[in-house]
Subunit: 206 residues, 3 copies
Amino acid sequence: MVYVLELAGLYVFATSGALMAVHKGFDIVGIAVLALLTALGGGILRDLVIGDVPPAAFSNVYYLLVPLIAAAVTFFAHPLVQRLSFTVLVFDAAGLALFCVTGTLKALDYHLGSVQAVLLGVTTAVGGGVLRDITARETPALVRMHTDLYAIPATAGAIVIAVANQLRLPEAAFAIGAAVFVFAFRIVAMLRNWKAPHAWERKRPV
Amino acid sequence: MVYVLELAGLYVFATSGALMAVHKGFDIVGIAVLALLTALGGGILRDLVIGDVPPAAFSNVYYLLVPLIAAAVTFFAHPLVQRLSFTVLVFDAAGLALFCVTGTLKALDYHLGSVQAVLLGVTTAVGGGVLRDITARETPALVRMHTDLYAIPATAGAIVIAVANQLRLPEAAFAIGAAVFVFAFRIVAMLRNWKAPHAWERKRPV
Amino acid sequence: MVYVLELAGLYVFATSGALMAVHKGFDIVGIAVLALLTALGGGILRDLVIGDVPPAAFSNVYYLLVPLIAAAVTFFAHPLVQRLSFTVLVFDAAGLALFCVTGTLKALDYHLGSVQAVLLGVTTAVGGGVLRDITARETPALVRMHTDLYAIPATAGAIVIAVANQLRLPEAAFAIGAAVFVFAFRIVAMLRNWKAPHAWERKRPV
């Protein structure tokens, strides 16, 4: 079940990378590279840090094939995929929710501290998108102003997991709860255009 | 023999990084950084992923000295080096051929699957160039539109190696054959300006 | 003592990342991301290369909390922090001096060769700044033209450490000496606007 969700998450993350490549006029190599980087980059970073090498992305061939299939589908059907952009965003929210939960749990399994596990869970969820944007020479959506909340729902979900682990609460129930919470938080943030605060400015008299 | 070719490959990769730094007006630090990143980046990424740490680039001091010598030569003689730009491209094709073959073989030695080994072989060959372009704030040549085939010859060569390994065919013969094939494919692609296909567009009536 | 200096170094490196994020209009997520990357990126790269995983940045929770505190302080007090920009640069020089020394020593402890240890010491000191600039879509200050010497003092200090280690000279004394030397070299380079040389150009008659 988690495995099927993971493959679905990889598929949509890869699609977001492939769509950016199409949008920027990249050729088939660029489409495949951005699809793979977006889908697998966050998890590879996490696995290098915790010392799980080769990273999970290289342990199971479907983790590589699914992003390549997403790249191929986008290559041929990108006008259709773009018309489904809200659907893609909903699946992307599901991928965000899933990967921040599984990333945090994996870091805790490797005996990292709670704060460290939260950071790695968020890295798993958002790292691929940062690598996609850097490679495509875009300002990373993660740091760009005026984007809807993305890392903050992931951080909130990772904190829920870490606290539950610290208090020895039942892991499975909290994992599912945290994932649902991240998904809902992200969807509402998109629908309501919630933004994160910018650096505090003292009000000046005009 | 392979070792001499490797050092020659590192030299030309480093030269391409150093020339970009000169072209962008970077100082001697920038020239050295781009030379090292271009020559060693792909192999370091591969070794981190397969878990061979410290990476080979740090095991033999000549792997560091050769790129630094290339940086120094380019620093003083860049007008001459630029006049030799076709020669540099020919050696670059040789480096591409060599590193995709040695990278794929090393990944197979570390018991990675065929698809994973192909991906790592290509990463070895093209990863340094991507890091060079990202650090110099260029759109990576790897994904940019309108560049001649580069990753595709490397991918084809890596697939030959992986298939030969799967079928237990003689490794040395296929390694040499694949390297010659990648080199020739890349040279022909340059001479004929072969491009990779862009995302498929439905023909519209005007 | 070294530990307190390390935390102070992380604080100022993180502040430089957070200030760049404020300057570019990034939101609170971007401020935290750039603060963490700038402070911890160089050390994480070094630890991945030498195989010390999880990296030191993940072993002690204060290594994560100090950059986050710097991000929070900058978030609220950035006009004040900017007015202290010379003070920040002095502390940044102290961080540069400290991290190039501790990075080189750690690489030597892991039995890397002298040249390799110098390269990793410099990476520890300057790597975070490069990741900050790449993520914020700036040309890395490390390679940009017309910046005052930064990597060169760090390289000189790392070479002092490596030579002292090779000659079995007393480590503690040389570590302190090298750090003071790097700090002074960097401060003088800033005050006198010393630049690194650009690629050599033959003088032409007009």
